[in-house]
Amino acid sequence: MKSDGTLPKIAVHGLTGCAGELLVILENLGTVLPYVQVASFPFAQSKNDIKDVDIAFVEGSVSQEHDIEVLNKIRSHSKWLVAVGNCAVHGCVQSSTCAKFTPQEMVESVYGKDSAIKALEAKPLSSYVEVDVSLSGCPIDKNQFLAVLASLLKDHLPYIIERPVCLECKMRENGCVLIEKNLPCLGPVTAAGCGALCPSFDAACYGCFGPCKDPQLDAMTLILQEKGYNLSDVLVRLGTFGIPEAVLSNLDVRR
């Protein structure tokens, strides 16, 4: 509750994404409704007011002019701007390819030569505006989301840890699938938050939360190659869920 007796206002917007975060937020609306007023949530309500809000959650990457317009408007009307989901934080799957094809090539390949569609290279929000909090995940973890919101309601920055998935994996006491099953697990270079979901299901982490802090990509590449994975598959796999090109380009094998 604010000093004037009103509830803090939040907004939830989606740019170019799969609506995953919108869905997570929608499904947890019951928990947060007593503490906030939802000023804008086009996915869930008809009357949407983009005017000054305390916290704006934005899903999706910026992939077209319209996204930029909306994003700038949201930024100028919100105190805290939270990028939610891998798309908004790292650019997710759609940004991974832009390194290989130009947007126009993609438009042509999908919609034909004389398509009127204009596309931009998919980029995370931070490429266009200042982002206060970045909460990655594909989709975001609901507990992390609730903690971020609760922190911001106190005007505190939340503590989001970007340690590797391996820590959570060991904390859950999983047998390591990289060691025991020779699976191409990206846990060592991927940010935790999911609770080491894939390895808990005997599968290899494919990096959906984006890179952990300071990922050791050279060592990861080396070890996967030793396990028999070919270099091109390994590099493609590392880049799938939005490891930024700047980080990837530090790879020895790429240089």
Binding site: Y35, A150, Y159, R163, P164, L167, E173, A219
Partner: protein, 331 residues
């Protein structure tokens, strides 16, 4: 044992791995388990625990009084590991969260036969002499039981029908077991040389070779019986039940890049090599003079859990011993 409380023992969880889990019957227990993924430290210093709660105007301690429980099948190295943790958490100021759980536990030790990764003998942690309530030596048909405490005695009394007093034969087979076991260690070295070794080998190229492969994944630390580093994580909450926030203690690892970073951008261990060397030194050099016990108990967990295969502690030690001309320490 179940009269004492819940029983935890090694259980098979994957093709190659075991884990201490709650068991109901004798048949749940994997007696063959050599090392569990996580050591028994998780019962006393859990992966995640809430330490402090805070509402609008009060801060309070979270007091969890555990009911008595039994940890069954703790091998000598893990007993030594717990003693090392005791030195940290039970030294002043005493960590009450740890202490409460430690008090509630009855520890039943169990003998084991080493594999190629075990080197507890070199670290001097292969003989159980304290840290347990009961210790069982597997003599094939029967167990040779050593009782160390009142709590242990009470467990034995509760199942007196299965217990006989020890005779001379038993004593002999007990001795035989341990001397036979001693022969099984594949790699041994003289651990008294370790502090010197780490100092002399500090700039050895072996570190560069290892660090090139290090993933900084931190797998080596949660599995270690003596690693105790943690982070304090504040989680804000909605004001339900007037609870505004909690402080959680969560396992951390010195292998993560921000571990030693301070405000102003200085990071005292920025690269994997710095962190890896720090870790090796910490394990092999011990807690320096602060606490006079080794901080590696030779369980081999880090060796088997490192995806990069670079935590072969005895291997690295032997290599360094050769290089630094301390060959005489290789036994």
């Amino acid at each position: 044992m179940q009269t004492t409380g819940k029983v935890y023992a090694p259980v098979k969880v994957s093709d190659l791995s075991y884990s201490f889990k709650a068991v109901e019957t004798h048949s749940d227990i994997a007696f063959e388990a050599l090392r569990t993924i996580l050591p028994p430290k998780k019962f006393f210093f859990p992966q995640e625990e809430t330490i402090v709660m805070c509402d609008g105007d009060q801060i309070s301690e979270v007091v969890e009084v555990p009911t008595p429980f039994v940890v069954f099948g703790v091998h000598p190295c893990d007993l030594a590991g717990l003693l090392a943790l005791d030195k940290i958490f039970l030294s002043a100021p005493l960590d009450s969260h740890y202490q409460r759980r430690r008090r509630a536990a009855v520890i039943v030790g169990l003998s084991c036969l080493p594999d190629k990764h075990c080197f507890c003998r070199s670290m001097g942690t292969d003989t159980p002499n304290k840290g347990y309530d009961l210790f069982l030596t597997d003599l094939g048909e029967e167990f040779y039981v050593q009782i160390k405490s009142q709590a242990g005695l009470e467990v034995i009394q509760a199942c007196s029908t299965f217990v006989q007093s020890v005779n001379n034969d038993d004593n002999d087979s007990y001795k035989d077991f341990w001397s036979e076991r001693d022969k099984l260690f594949e790699r041994t070295f003289d651990s008294s040389k370790l502090p010197n070794l780490m100092d002399m080998g500090w700039n050895d190229p072996v570190w560069d070779q290892l660090a090139e492969r290090c993933l900084s994944c931190g797998n080596c630390t949660p599995v270690c019986p003596t690693c105790y580093c943690f982070d304090m994580v504040d989680v804000a909450m909605f004001n339900t039940q007037k609870m505004e926030a909690k402080r959680d203690r969560v396992w951390d690892s010195c292998q993560f890049s921000g571990f030693a970073a301070v405000a102003g951008g200085e990071n005292f261990r920025p690269g994997p090599i710095d962190r890896l060397k720090f870790w090796y030194r910490h394990k092999l050099h011990g807690f320096d003079d602060a606490i006079e016990i080794p901080s590696c108990v030779g369980c081999g967990r880090c060796t088997v859990s490192c995806p990069a295969g670079i935590d072969d502690l005895p291997g690295v030690v032997l290599t360094l011993l050769q290089k630094t001309n301390m060959k005489d320490a290789v036994q």
